[in-house]
């Protein structure tokens, strides 16, 4: 009998525990003071709560205090759940929403939707789907709002199914917090990086924001742009870029040129516009608003430069697109003005929002976030590759879990090597709010090899080893070459601001033109695989320097460091013309030499008093006589070209040195290639 009573008491206690307890003084007659205090906190929370999601972070602070006093109020639990769900503690919402539902299933018509959303974010796919379905059943109306809510639940269910699928085949990555030098206890996000990962710029809402102000609309510090550089493989402490980049208002990063010399900035004024700033020496120029082909009265948010700097991809929600915000591209005209924007079309854009556009330094792989494709929740990051032959974008591919998550995944930057990606995310292990993380892509699983043997031949006691052929792995590497280095004066060794021209030798076309930084002399260019590149480094009153890079389509990613010392135009100075090519064993100039020859012609026209000697050299193969003759006739071909280009013959001499004066060993292919060359020397000026 005693046992039965005890059991009844336990049951009773449980029932009492799970009953909704309203915040009325009658329920707390024995504890009036504390009730008053808790009610005060509840009211304070409510005042903030009604102001919208921006204030949830503050509201929940009061709600927690009230909840500590009365943990069994359904509505309070619901509100805490909602605050958590729509601020940074999203997963924590599950605890409160579940309790609210238990205390009062009718606490709010949105409860099942929110719980579904919370489960969804916590990768609890099946439970999420169940909640969304329950929510749909509560939508009995046939009005537009009910229909829209039901459609939204359908989309969430589809996202859960995609997520469930993607989670089963995760992408192999390491995800590392960028560290306390970069991240802070405030929100850090919007990372952009230079192609070689030597410079990182990002947006943060810190208390040292320029002007120190808080935006009342969002109840948070104004955004500023911060910079960190990599030294000895480590990020240096991030510094506020200060004026003129940062002002009292919001500034956020959106794009950085491959060489880290040009910055694209988003400024919230006029509904959101895009600005450009350039690094001149050590100083960033005042951000300049991009023209009306880019900026409209609508919201232009993110943007990025193509690696040659000739295109800008950007996001706008202006009318005429496919729906929501779309990705557009604009090309620079000859006068350096951004041309009319073109929508990238349905291969990329959807009826939902696209955001966070980033083009890889290979110039053809576009990374962007979309809400409209097969996402596992909110925005997911996709990539699509442009086919230069068919002029089409490939079907966008979801980057997969855990790069993508059920939450919004936007603003993703990837290194030129394709090995590292940067993005921001909220994690309990982070330094606070959003932090910047580096993803290291490990590529497809590297299969380990097992070894076995069998007693194949009965007559032999020794087992026979099984032949194992290790499988071939698809190599997914970025196919481009990053060429970088420092340009200096050969004599003073001081950094020089010089022009770097990239020429497609086969098309005789200048693909891109860059400038080295005047205070560091640093330059960086991205050379996608599949071309023969002529590189010319030029500066007035200096002899130009030429380099040749033949990068076949199959070449893997490489980073080449090439420091260039430019020589003055002085008697005796000479340069190797690396982009002059002849037919094999002949002195016929190949058409891909044109650009270099034109450059030489220009130099002679610019300095009409200049007299030069063109000299030809061969490797040590073939006979001395043949080599001497060939080198001389090749030098003469160059002189003949210059004479045809109206350079007076008396300014030009030619000489063939054959295999003499080698600059490299004749024992290797590489050495012989270097020895086969054309040079010019200044005889007088």
């Amino acid at each position: 009998m005693k046992k039965i009573i005890l059991l009844l008491l336990v049951v009773l206690a449980n029932t009492v525990h799970s009953q909704n307890v309203e915040f009325v003084k009658e329920n707390f007659a024995n504890n009036k003071d504390k009730f008053r205090e808790a009610k005060g906190r509840l009211d304070a929370g409510d005042k903030l709560f009604v102001q919208g999601p921006m204030f949830y972070k503050l509201a929940v602070y009061h709600y927690f205090a009230a909840n500590q006093f009365n943990p069994d109020n359904a509505l309070l639990n619901f509100k805490i759940g909602k605050c958590c769900l729509y601020s940074s503690n999203k997963i924590r919402s599950i605890l409160y929403l579940e309790k609210a539902l238990k205390l009062n299933p009718a606490v709010d018509p949105q409860i099942h939707y929110m719980l579904g959303k919370a489960y969804h974010l916590d990768l609890q796919w099946d439970k999420a789907i169940e909640e969304f379905k329950v929510f749909q059943k509560t939508l009995t109306g046939t009005d537009a709002e009910s229909l829209s809510l039901s459609n939204d639940a359908d989309k969430q269910i589809a996202e859960c199914l995609t997520g469930k699928d993607l989670e089963k085949k995760p992408v192999r990555v390491f995800i590392d917090n960028a560290g306390p030098e970069v991240n802070s206890k405030y929100a850090d996000y919007g990372t952009v990086i230079s192609a070689d990962e030597s410079v990182m710029l990002f947006t943060s809402r810190r208390d040292n924001t320029t002007g120190g102000g808080v935006d009342p609309a969002i109840n948070d510090y104004f955004e500023d742009i911060y910079m960190s550089t990599k030294k000895d493989g480590k990020w240096t402490p991030a510094v506020n870029m200060g004026p003129p980049i940062n002002t009292n208002d919001h500034e956020s990063t959106t794009g950085l040129s491959a060489d880290g010399q040009k910055l694209l900035i988003y400024i919230g004024k006029n509904n959101g516009d895009l600005f450009e700033s350039e690094l001149k020496g050590a100083v960033w120029s005042k951000p300049e608003k991009m023209n009306k082909n880019i900026n409209t009265d609508y919201h232009e948010s993110s943007a990025c430069y193509s690696p040659d700097g000739k295109l800008v991809y950007f996001v706008s929600d202006k009318p005429g697109g496919l729906g929501g915000s779309d990705i557009y591209v604009s090309a620079k005209d000859e006068k350096g003005r951004w041309g009319k924007a073109v929508n990238l079309g349905p291969s990329i854009n959807t009826q939902y929002n696209e955001e966070g556009v980033f083009i890889h330094p290979d110039g053809k792989t576009l990374y962007f976030s979309s809400r409209g494709r097969e996402t596992m929740g909110g925005y997911d990051i996709f990539k699509s590759v442009f086919d230069d032959k068919t002029k089409t974008w490939s079907n966008p591919e979801n980057l997969g879990y855990p790069v993508n998550t059920p939450d919004d995944d936007v603003f993703f930057a990837i290194s030129a090597s394709g090995k590292h990606g940067y993005y921001s995310s909220v994690s309990e292990k982070g330094l606070g709010e959003k932090d910047i993380y580096m993803i290291t892509f490990l590529g497809p699983e590297k299969p380990m090899i097992l070894n076995n043997e069998d007693n194949l031949l009965a007559s032999l006691t020794a087992p026979v080893k099984e032949t194992v052929i290790a499988p071939v792995i698809a190599i997914k590497e970025a196919q481009l070459t990053i060429l970088k280095g420092k340009i200096t004066d050969a004599l003073t060794q001081q950094p020089l601001e010089a022009t770097i021209e990239i020429v497609d030798n086969f098309r005789n076309e200048i693909i891109a033109s860059f400038t080295s930084n005047s205070s560091t002399g640093n330059y960086l260019v991205s050379l996608p695989a599949g071309k023969n590149y002529g590189i010319a480094v030029k500066k007035e009153s200096y002899l130009f320097h030429s380099e040749n890079f033949d990068i076949p389509m199959t070449a893997a990613f490489q980073e080449v460091v090439k420091d260039v010392a430019l020589s003055n135009v002085a008697v005796g100075n000479k340069i190797i013309l690396k982009n002059i090519f002849f037919d094999f064993g002949k002195s016929t100039l190949r058409p891909e030499s044109t650009n270099e020859l034109e450059r030489l012609t220009k130099l002679l026209n610019d300095i009409p008093t200049l007299k030069i000697e063109i000299s030809g050299f061969t490797d040590s193969k073939s006979s001395a006589e043949f080599n001497l003759k060939l080198s001389e006739s090749r030098a003469k071909s160059v002189v003949d070209y210059l004479v045809k280009a109206n350079i007076k013959a008396e300014r030009l001499t030619f000489v063939g040195y054959g295999k003499e004066q080698p600059i490299a060993s004749n024992d290797t292919d590489e050495g012989r290639q270097l020895n086969r060359r054309t040079e010019f020397k200044i005889l007088s000026k």
């Binding site: 590297k446 380990m448 090899i449 070894n451 076995n452 043997e453 069998d454 099984e466 290790a470």
Partner: protein
């Protein structure tokens, strides 16, 4: 004294059936024993010693027999067999040579083939087996062993033909069925292999290694369940069969049972503590179970056992990558390439 000798000779007659030496010689010895056949007496004594595995004494007996009778063909043959047992293969070949110079006996060719094979002279052995077949077309063993050499020199088609001949002559030739199955397996005729292994087991169900071989063929067909079952049978038939434990582990690995695989590899290691394959394979199971440190350690053990174990270097590199030891991973992959593991080249792209 005379009587004793006769008794010994008679004993030899009965004792000889189970050894390699030729039985017909004994019949002669018996018939020709007229008390003056000293050579034959030494010869018979040699046979008795051979049967009793007293090879040294047997050798001395055959020496004496030949000393008395320089053209004693059978004595040369038996001395060759004795030297073979004593692992003096060169001496054996010389005696078989002598025997053959006196008489073109197919068995002499066959035995010389065996001695040449032992001397790793596969071409010579193959020629001798062929000669045996030429002289005695129903010599099943000659076909069988010739098939074995063809197998070993990767002439699997030729091997299948010879094993088929051996089976034709001796339809319950379990070994030949097993080996033909293996040759078919090398020719990627997995179904044919399985059928032959099954026939071999029908002829002799005690052959644990054939269960193992059939299991491996099934594994090749991705019939992991069938493979595991056959490996289990192999283990039950052959005590301490570490090869089958290692293989069953691999089949479990293929089937995604990494814990089961780990246990089998561990068992193989317990049975053979220097079994590099099992250490290497256990590393793969540990990797799948996310025990990257354990995986790298097992590879290290495998490499300690076999310094040229390229695949284990490859695997250790993969484990080290997950341990964030990129330099170590690169160094291992480069070593694997050095040791001929081409696939490691896929991984060294990021290495300095």
């Amino acid at each position: 004294m005379k009587t004793k000798k006769i008794v010994l000779a008679l004993f030899c007659v009965f004792a000889l059936n189970s050894i390699n030496a030729q039985t017909d010689t004994i019949v002669k010895a018996k018939i020709l024993d007229d008390g003056s056949q000293d050579a034959e007496k030494f010869y018979n004594s040699g046979i008795a010693n051979f049967a009793a595995k007293n090879f040294k004494d047997a050798l001395a007996d055959f020496d004496k027999a030949i000393g008395v009778k320089a053209d004693f063909e059978k004595a040369y043959y038996n001395r060759g067999s004795t030297k073979f047992e004593m692992k003096d293969y060169k001496g054996a070949v010389a005696d078989f040579d002598k025997s053959l110079s006196l008489l073109q006996n197919p068995d002499s060719y066959f035995s010389r083939g065996q001695a040449k094979y032992a001397l790793d002279n596969k071409t010579g052995a193959l020629a001798d087996y062929s000669k045996t077949i030429e002289l005695k077309s129903d010599h099943a063993q000659a076909y069988y062993y010739r098939g074995g050499i063809k197998f070993e020199t990767a002439d699997y088609k030729g091997a299948v033909d010879d094993f088929t001949q051996a089976i034709r002559i001796k339809p319950d030739y379990a070994y030949a069925f097993n080996d033909r199955g293996s040759a078919k397996r090398q020719l990627e005729d997995i179904d044919g292999a399985i059928a032959d292994y099954t026939s071999a087991l029908k002829a002799n169900p005690a052959m644990g290694f054939t269960y193992n071989n059939r299991a491996s063929a099934k594994r090749k067909k991705n019939d992991f369940k069938g493979a595991i079952s056959d490996y289990t049978e192999a283990i039950s038939k052959k005590e301490n069969y570490y090869v089958a434990y290692n293989n069953r582990g691999s089949a479990k690995y293929d089937a995604g049972d990494y814990q089961g695989a780990l246990e089998d590899f561990t068992k193989a290691i317990q049975l053979k503590s220097d079994y590099a394959f099992a250490f290497n394979n256990r590393a793969t199971a540990k990797f799948k179970l996310k025990d990257y440190k354990g995986s790298a350690d097992d590879c290290t053990k495998a490499i300690q056992l076999n310094a040229n174990y390229g695949y284990s270097y490859l695997n250790r590199g993969i484990a080290k990558e997950m341990l964030r030891d990129n330099a170590g991973a690169c160094s291992d992959w480069k070593k694997a390439i050095e040791l001929g593991v081409e696939s490691a080249k896929n991984y060294t792209g990021d290495c300095n």
